[in-house]
């Protein structure tokens, strides 16, 4: 350690041939992050992602709030997927406090989580479409997302930040005749997302644009620890819902989608295919759900965990979402660490973008299923 590495700003030598491009943070194609690119002509020779523009210190904040008041804060990193991000927290706290969730609540949790996954994926897909200059593919998913937002709003009372899951169940039961509305919306939604194939997924221009770009081999995908759709597009069959089923996912009838190619096209197709499976799960859960019963275990005012730690994980819209909760016998967690899919897929970004053309930046970047706010926490 003779040479001290300074954190922060560093001045760099400028080459005549190489141009440095700051893609972000004020750039229509960057999201809340900066990608420092060095381009030689049209080729990217160096890529350095610089997240952190929306870092909120969620992990630090969680150490100061008790197990219930953490709920509205912890869903903030991904408000479009707020049920799924609360899921590992609730599972972990239930394990800490030794709570048993009522059966009906488990099914409703699964329904809410799958609706939320579709809502997130539609939003992601919309941005993917507009990144590729396809404005219809922005408007259609964002419009059709409204169907499920409407359902979630009937269910939870809020359109995006639901605060629906609590340790020990869910906040409230669904309104009467929810099942019929849900089934109708899910069927129409499935019909709509099938139509995306014509203009987007089977579109020869899109295929020629994204096929064979940013190829992530199976070995690299495992080595870099990617997760979710990125991993499954590289030919690794890994889905927490199948591998380590939580709540009632064991009883659900669905398949995981695995593609071998590992390119941007496969990575962008996996979430779309997953939405069909989500529709299957919702229909299945609606059928198998007990028609009545309690949905929440009553908690003491300030529940305290033991002197232990848990690590629970679920499959979110962006891959495995794990929460490591260390408890020290206080009402607050001693340490809460979120291991999020966005952050883990970000590790693959320099690997994928180096050597690509500049025109491949948007499809490769957004097909990583990266949500800047979640990665920053």
């Amino acid at each position: 350690m003779s040479e001290r590495i300074l954190p922060g700003l560093q001045l760099e030598k400028v080459d005549d041939r190489i141009m440095t491009l700051n893609v972000g943070p004020q750039h229509p194609g960057s999201g809340h992050m900066r990608i420092i690119l060095k381009v030689d002509g049209d080729y990217i020779v160096h890529c350095d992602p610089d997240p952190g523009y929306v870092h909120r210190g969620e992990e630090k904040m969680a150490e100061y709030r008790n197990y219930i008041t953490n709920i509205p804060h912890l869903e903030r990193p991904v408000i479009h997927d707020s049920c799924n991000i609360l899921y590992p927290y609730c599972l972990g706290v239930e394990e800490l406090l030794g709570l048993e969730v009522p059966e009906r609540a488990k099914y409703l949790r699964v329904i809410a989580a799958e609706l939320n996954r579709c809502v997130y994926t539609q939003y992601w897909l919309g941005i993917y479409g507009i990144f590729l200059g396809h404005s219809t593919m922005f408007m259609w998913p964002v419009g059709d997302r409204e169907l499920f937002i409407d359902l979630l709003e009937k269910m939870t009372g809020a359109r995006v930040t639901h605060s629906y899951f609590v340790p020990g169940g869910i906040r409230n039961d669904v309104p009467p005749n929810f099942e019929d509305v849900c089934l109708r919306h899910v069927n129409y939604f499935e019909k709509r997302i099938k139509e995306y194939a014509d203009v987007f997924y089977d579109n020869p221009i899109l295929i020629s644009r994204t096929k064979d770009t940013g190829i992530l081999s199976r070995e690299d995908a495992i080595k870099l620890g990617t997760t979710g759709s990125v991993l499954r597009a590289s030919g690794v069959d890994f889905d927490i819902r199948k591998k380590e089923p939580y709540d009632v996912y064991e009883e659900m009838d669905f398949d995981t989608n695995v593609l071998k190619e590992g390119d941007s096209y496969a990575r962008s197709k996996i979430p779309w295919l997953d939405m069909f499976q989500s529709c299957r799960i919702i229909r299945d859960a609606l059928q198998k759900m007990p028609k009545s019963g309690s949905v929440r275990v009553k908690l003491k005012p300030n529940p305290r965990g033991g002197d232990t730690e848990v690590y629970r994980r679920v499959e979110s819209g962006r891959g495995t979402l794990g929460m490591h909760i260390v408890s020290k016998g206080k009402p607050q967690p001693y340490r809460l660490k979120m291991s999020v899919g966005s952050f883990r897929n970000l590790i693959a970004m320099p690997h994928l973008l180096t050597g690509e053309k500049l025109g491949n930046l948007p499809p490769v970047y957004w097909s990583l299923n990266y949500w800047p706010v979640e990665a920053d926490r």
Binding site: T136, M155, G157, D173, F178, V295, K298
Partner: protein, 165 residues
Amino acid sequence: MGTASGIIRALNSGIKHIATKRFTLRYPEQKLKFAGDGYQYDPTSGVGIAGYKGRHILYHDKCTGCNLCSIACEDIAEAIAMPKVDEQWKHNKKAIMPQIDYGKCVFCGLCVDACPFYALYMTNDYELSSFTKEGLIYTPAQLQVKPQVQQDAEIQIDERGAKHG
């Protein structure tokens, strides 16, 4: 020839959708209908009742000024203060009631869960914008008012697509 047929399929799908129903909710003229009268909570069973989490409604005849909603909000948004009110209630000797700052509130509804006396619920009213920051602070007297809402648009699905109507 796969390229040509793909291009023709895409163009055909585009032309077909020109004749599909428009899905847009025309907001100020139409307002979306919600389930129920707003989020409520039953402290005896410990389970909420589904409804929209909008502006709160405070029943002065039930509020005891126990501070529980304010304590619940302390770690979340710090939106609830407990000022003195100019009223005489047998069950509220201190005469303090919640006053909510909607510039801070995140509409999580955990204050409703905290109220053990059926005094604080939420309503379907979400049009709270104001020209000043002070206008966003709702006093107990303002929270007492039952909102007048006209929300009747619902998503209707038929063969030719979905629309709000």
